[in-house]
């Protein structure tokens, strides 16, 4: 599988990372090197093998379905680049 510039641009878009047009060829090359390395996995016979979901055979713990946290709006907003009137502020989303 070879990645061309338009695929690299699509991946950058999906990842929400702005990549300038002139950086795309180098990025595509890097992807191809890494994916070439990953291709080795095709040599492995994985017929009938379950994909791992948990490395330790433990059942996830359950907890009571109750409120155990909250009422800390100031703390939640304390690191926001732009917080106003108790909310996170972002550029206009809906026209």
């Amino acid at each position: 599988m070879s990645i061309d510039q338009s695929t690299a641009a699509k991946v950058a878009k999906l990842a929400r990372i702005k990549v300038e047009e002139d950086a795309l060829p180098a990025l595509a090359d890097e992807f191809n090197t890494i994916l070439g390395f990953i291709e080795q996995l095709n040599e492995v016979d994985v017929e009938g093998v379950e994909p791992m979901t948990s490395v330790t055979p433990q059942r996830l713990k359950r907890r009571e379905d109750v409120v155990n946290d909250g009422n800390q709006q100031d703390k939640v907003l304390s690191n926001a680049p732009d917080a106003r009137e108790g909310f996170f502020a972002v550029p206009k989303v809906v026209e």
Partner: protein, 495 residues
Amino acid sequence: MSDLNKLGLAEARDALRKGDTTSVELTEACLKAIDAADALNAFVHKTPEIALERAKAADTRIKAGDAPSMCGLPVGIKDLFCTKGVDSQAASNILKGFKPEYESTVSQKLVDAGSVMLGKLNMDEFAMGSSNETSAYGDVVSPWRRDGSDAKLTPGGSSGGSAAAVAADLCLAATGTDTGGSIRQPAAFTGTVGIKPTYGRCSRWGIVAFASSLDQAGPMTKSVRDAAIMLEAMAGHDPKDSTSADLAVPDFEAMLTGDIKGKKIGIPKEYRMEGMPAEIENLWADGTAMLKDAGAEIVDISLPHTKYALPAYYVIAPAEASSNLARYDGVRYGHRATLEAGDGITEMYEKTRAQGFGHEVQRRVMVGTYVLSAGFYDAYYNRARRVRTLIKKDFEDVFAAGVDAILTPATPSAAFGLGEMTDADPVQMYLNDVFTVTVNLAGLPGISVPAGLDAQGLPLGLQLIGRPWEEGDLLNTAYALEQAAGFVAKPGKWW
């Protein structure tokens, strides 16, 4: 007492309890060493006020006879751990200025154990790297140099600041994290001890996530005994991390008898890589002989899927990273790009992430995005998870056959020079983790023990891999290896 910063945890603890020194004296010695070591770029946020306040409190507790296990012992904390009110930015510009309103479970446990935080330690950005060259704070410089050379070397990564700080005696010990080798490789490069415990032994809550199914915290120390002391303080069940194990934490230090008679040590043939330097080969043979002399039974074993561990890792880790790092969107914390007129929310995300993430992080996020994207999910991500099942089964089979621990080299070479790998393709750098990454994929405990020097005077480490949840037994085997190897070299002070 002089040179208090050069003590290990066990020695300092015993000196404190005997009244030979105080935590304030120990802490001041470390703070002085830290201020004199800016050339190493290991400590990136110093917290002397917090340190002295905790040291004073520790001295009061020691006097009152109420000293927990690490009372008064000064340590460094990797920047990946969220520490309340103290900059925690995972060595990334995207988290610049982030001061958490909470404390990670592991660093809180270290506070509860009485330890003294000296500051935050440099690392690769988001723990993605093997040389500490991807950090937004700049490279960490290893305190070690090749004989007769002043070329700057890497301390390894991603826990490079932790390794350099411990090796240079800036602190008694430090926390690290390990996703593919990030504790064990820097430990090997700097002549220190580093253990990655079984997945689930330490809570991941409050540690900036890289690849959640692989990440584990662990101690980086000057001796195996210190690793036992500190791991016990860090470990334990945490309701806030659903993958943390609800198992009792044993007294690891009490398990260090040095007696490994009758233990079965496996030597995996697949770790004998083509082109492996003779020095590594010899070190491995020496380590095998040491364990045999100590009474262990040596057996040849096979871990047939070893070769596929790195490629599987470089699907799974970036996939998880692309998901975990989606939270850095310029809305809730950290950096937000300055926008131009007409820019909407998508432009804000794209510009923020392009400015805030370094090159390696961007690359891994995008590789992860690709392998998870429609049409490739099965071919890459699901296939890698199937291979991961097989890698884990390799280990289960040898443990079922009675093997207690596995001995391997920790790294394929000694530390390399900063900048030496700049022109190499990314895969060359990834090969640093070839011996360590299998352990993360299988969720096992692994420890790196300094075992010798190469011809240029640089430290080399051996790795021991243990059965799940048997860190105590693993530490004891490591202790026997440490005693037999008798590694005492320290870097000559040039900084």
